[in-house]
């Protein structure tokens, strides 16, 4: 999961404002490269507020027209699943192969399905 990129920053040593010491808070930046595509995590940066986060994201992540839209989310608001629990979290999906089209036995002469 890409958005875990900077989550470990959030493990308890942040002040309520999301900044440590005098640091500006950390923001996660998501960029839509063109209309029709999802916003994708690009990385993170520090900024004093949302507007500055977007301005900085433009300079840091879109110097070559990499995006048409930017989302900025303060990192402390991103919640992530715990990788240690991955096996139990995703396990129930493991034995449900019937959710995939290839599970079904059908004759070769069946067309357009």
């Amino acid at each position: 999961m890409e958005e875990q990129n900077s989550i470990s920053n959030d493990d308890g040593n942040n002040s309520p404002s999301g900044a440590r010491g005098n640091e500006w808070p950390l923001w996660e930046i998501f960029i839509r490269s063109k209309n029709g595509l999802d916003h994708k995590h690009a990385g993170s940066l520090h900024a004093a507020d949302a507007e500055m986060a977007i301005e900085n994201a433009r300079d840091v992540y879109t110097r070559r027209m990499e995006g048409v839209s930017i989302w900025a989310v303060e990192s402390k608001y991103i919640h992530a699943s715990n990788p240690d629990e991955a096996s139990s979290l995703y396990d129930p999906a493991n034995d449900k192969l019937y959710r995939h089209p290839t599970f079904y036995d059908l004759p070769d002469e069946l067309r357009n399905m």
Binding site: N5, S6, R20, W24, G43, S44, I54, V60, R63
Partner: protein, 317 residues
């Protein structure tokens, strides 16, 4: 909470080329090695802006000036990608900057050499960015996810850096005798420090082996250096210039160029703070940081009191 089970899962991922992500368990030494490497890499990008910034106001044409500004701006971006990759390992930006300013953290020694002529912008692009690219391309496959992703972005941007440098040298090499001489002089000064960028010889590089085992590094210092020398020895012919090494000679048996002895004493001298510009570079960084303190404080205070409403709107509403 370190136990053998976790270590086994970690090594298994490394073995299967599954990336390690920030919240995954990792050995303390892996974390430390990466923090050191990524932050030093970030510092190099930032300090690396200084030698080139020196020539922005004196670039010989508007085209060259625009190019140089764009390149230096890219290097700032590279520093930022890398700082945020390092921050995923629970070190703060302030801490890293403090380590740079106190001299605890190093940056690439190459940036402690002065830029004496316009031709140096060419030699830096061709040789310094060239050596950096040679080092960085394999890092795109580094086992640590955030570092690898930052490197992919950086490598995409680097190729213009090297090409614009070569173009500067090519133009000078076709110019007057004085211009040609300026280009040769610049190559003479930058060649040896550039091949030192790959670091000490393999047998003098104790951490390399572990880094290779953890797939942080993919090739040894000497392998990458040889590859770089082989490439440059051919490219320099296009310039009609030479590399300053009398022992540089194609070895048919090895299928590589042989080359002369590197002056490691000079290398360690510069690493340890005694290069021509170490003090100047660090002083420039510290001054920039201190001069910017009031801006950082003012913006933070203002945002706390009165966050600027976003011009757009909430993304999902």
């Amino acid at each position: 909470m370190h136990n053998q089970e976790e270590e086994k899962i970690f090594l298994d991922k490394i073995d299967k080329e599954i990336k390690i992500e920030p919240k995954d368990w990792m050995p303390e030494q892996y974390r430390k090695t990466l923090i050191r490497q990524i932050s030093q890499h970030a510092h190099s990008e930032i300090v690396g802006m200084l030698p080139e910034a020196n020539w922005i106001t004196r670039a010989p044409s508007l085209r060259r000036k625009a190019t140089l500004i764009a390149k230096v701006q890219d290097e700032a971006g590279h520093g930022l990608y890398l700082y945020s990759a390092a921050e995923t390992m629970n070190i703060s930006r302030d801490e890293m900057i403090e380590q740079l300013h106190s001299g605890k953290a190093k940056y690439s020694s190459i940036f402690n050499y002065p830029t004496l002529s316009w031709a140096d912008m060419g030699a830096i692009g061709w040789l310094v960015d060239g050596a950096a690219i040679m080092n960085q391309v394999p890092l795109c496959r580094c086992s640590y996810g955030p570092y690898a992703r930052a490197m992919i972005r950086i490598c995409k941007e680097e190729s213009f850096h090297q090409r614009q440098g070569f173009e500067i040298l090519l133009t000078l090499s076709k110019g007057s005798e004085a211009q040609k001489q300026m280009a040769q002089d610049s190559i003479n000064r930058w060649w040896w420090p550039s091949i030192m960028m790959f670091g000490p010889n393999d047998d003098a590089s104790p951490h390399s082996k572990q880094s290779m085992a953890w797939k942080i590094k993919r090739f040894s210092n000497d392998e990458l250096r040889q590859k770089f020398i082989d490439v440059c020895a051919e490219q320099v012919k296009i310039l009609g210039l030479t590399l300053p090494d009398e022992k540089l000679k194609w070895n048919e048996e090895r299928k590589h160029y042989d080359f002369g002895e590197i002056n490691w004493e000079e290398f360690w001298n510069v690493v340890n703070g005694n290069g021509p510009c170490n003090k100047e570079r660090l002083a420039a960084r510290v001054k920039a940081h201190e001069d910017g303190a009031w801006v950082r404080e003012a913006a933070a205070a203002h945002a706390k009191k009165n966050p600027r409403p976003l011009k757009g709107r909430l993304a999902t509403v």
